[in-house]
């Protein structure tokens, strides 16, 4: 405690902006040691994930209400989705999560930068594969006239309710895709930092946080699969 208060201030009077990613670095001003700093940041990430859960929660609620109101239209809408693509994408995300977990494992057990960076790269590539497949699905919906506003050709009784399903489909998968894109960007940054040798077996906090975020986005998709694709045959 006392020693950190003696640390000189930098020119901006910004006493807190000391970058601490290397093992040799001292903890930030407000922390007693690196252990506390790591625990605090990871805890902060969990709180953030809970806010993300509530964000998606609102979408899940809308889904629940409308599905309860219009079960037939939701089943009909679901039949317009391509289960093969949805299933493949699920597998892609699960394997990408494994890559992230292996990356953290590599960071904590070996000092080899290349191994860590490779696992991260694999995760990022799988994330991009997911986005490409998702984009292809969107394109198919557009072609088939299942994209409200841009190209909507479904008509007949109850088409309004099917449209509601597609609105929710695009809202839920869209918000998920935005999150995944952020995840890919984060992993990209992590790759750079890994190559720069920023991480050590006892200093990997940013990796850990990126991993938590990535797995969370994965979990959201795991629920989107049954809710959107597997309603009824």
């Amino acid at each position: 405690m006392a020693e950190s208060s003696l640390r000189p201030m930098n020119a901006l009077g910004d006493t807190h902006s000391v970058e601490t990613s290397g093992a040799h670095a001292a903890p930030d001003l407000q922390f007693e040691n690196l252990e506390q700093q790591h625990a605090t940041r990871v805890f902060g990430m969990w709180i953030f994930l809970v806010t993300e859960l509530m964000l998606f929660g609102a979408l899940f609620l809308m889904y629940t209400v409308y599905r309860a109101f219009y079960p037939a239209a939701f089943a009909e809408g679901s039949r317009h989705l391509d289960l093969a693509l949805g299933g493949i994408n699920t597998a892609v995300l699960i394997v990408s999560s494994l890559c992230i977990a292996l990356a953290i494992h590599a960071a904590r057990t070996s000092a080899k930068r290349s191994q860590l960076a490779l696992w991260l790269l694999a995760a990022a590539v799988l994330g991009i594969v997911f986005m490409v497949i998702k984009g292809y699905e969107y394109f198919l919906h557009y072609q088939n006239g299942e994209m409200p506003v841009f190209n909507w050709t479904l008509t007949g009784a109850g088409a309004g309710h099917v449209q509601l399903f597609f609105w929710l489909y695009f809202a839920m998968t869209g918000v998920h895709a935005i999150h995944l894109s952020i995840g890919i960007a984060l992993v990209g940054i992590m790759i750079l930092r890994a190559l720069l040798g920023n991480f050590k077996p006892n200093a990997y906090t940013p990796l850990e946080m990126t991993g938590l975020y990535w797995h969370f986005v994965d979990i959201i998709w795991i629920f989107l699969l049954p809710l959107l694709y597997l309603i009824a045959r």
Binding site: A72, A73, G156, A157, G158, G160, H161
Partner: protein, 297 residues
Amino acid sequence: MASQVDMLFFTLLAMSVAVVVVIAGLIVYFGYKYRRRPENLVADQIQGSMRLEIAWSVIPLLIAMGIFVWGARLYFEMASPPAQARDVYVVAKQWMWEFQHQDGMREINALHVPLGEPVRLTMVSQDMIHSFFVPAFRVKQDVLPQRYTTAWFQATQPGTYHLFCAEYCGTLHSGMVGDVVVMAPQDFQTWSSQGDAETPAEAGEHLFAQFGCINCHKADNSGRGPALAGVFGRTVTFADGTTTVADENYIRESILNPDAHVVKGYEPIMPSFQGQLNEDQLLQLLAYIKSLGAKQP
């Protein structure tokens, strides 16, 4: 109803005055008695008292539950109109109120009702959410687009009362006002006999024929759709085994989204009439289907 609401309101008022007097009185009394003086520089350190804490949690809770039950009973009464109530159809739109009486009278921004007779409103909005509010009758109910809501009241004094829109609905929200005119029953008779327009049920019968409903919904149940006599208020069973009471909103859904709930034993072949009927016409069809029920023994 107004007097019952006021009874609860003024009971609450008496209680809150008592609480405010006690709290404010204690603050002033303690504040004066224990003001800082040279001989009173050190306070007594009192940590608290579990007994007091429990007392002032449990007692207010019991009182609050009493008020809850009282308020809920009133609300339930407000939600259950008497069976013999006079039906009035209300269509709200930016920024006016349209009323249609069962005997054919139509009016805008004014509602004439007979004294002492319960009036049941079936309301729907053509655009935004509005709210039907007559302060004198202590009645308020939001009027929603695409869905019927109901309210009822019974006037006890002749006179003219304010009608307000209580849910903000756009620029001229404060202009969406009208009058409720309560007339003696015989005066009301005279007033309502001035109209020579067809009644909503008659209009509905014409629509029923005009839109071809009659081709499938045959009275003798030989058509491709179920016969509608007596269906209103009855419990209907759907193809998937679930049931519902055929109320205003169910009839509405059956016309606009017939596929949503198909009655057991029938094919989902009815076309949707979404966009072909305006709110007035839907209410007229509703009135007709209701009147069919009335003809049943």
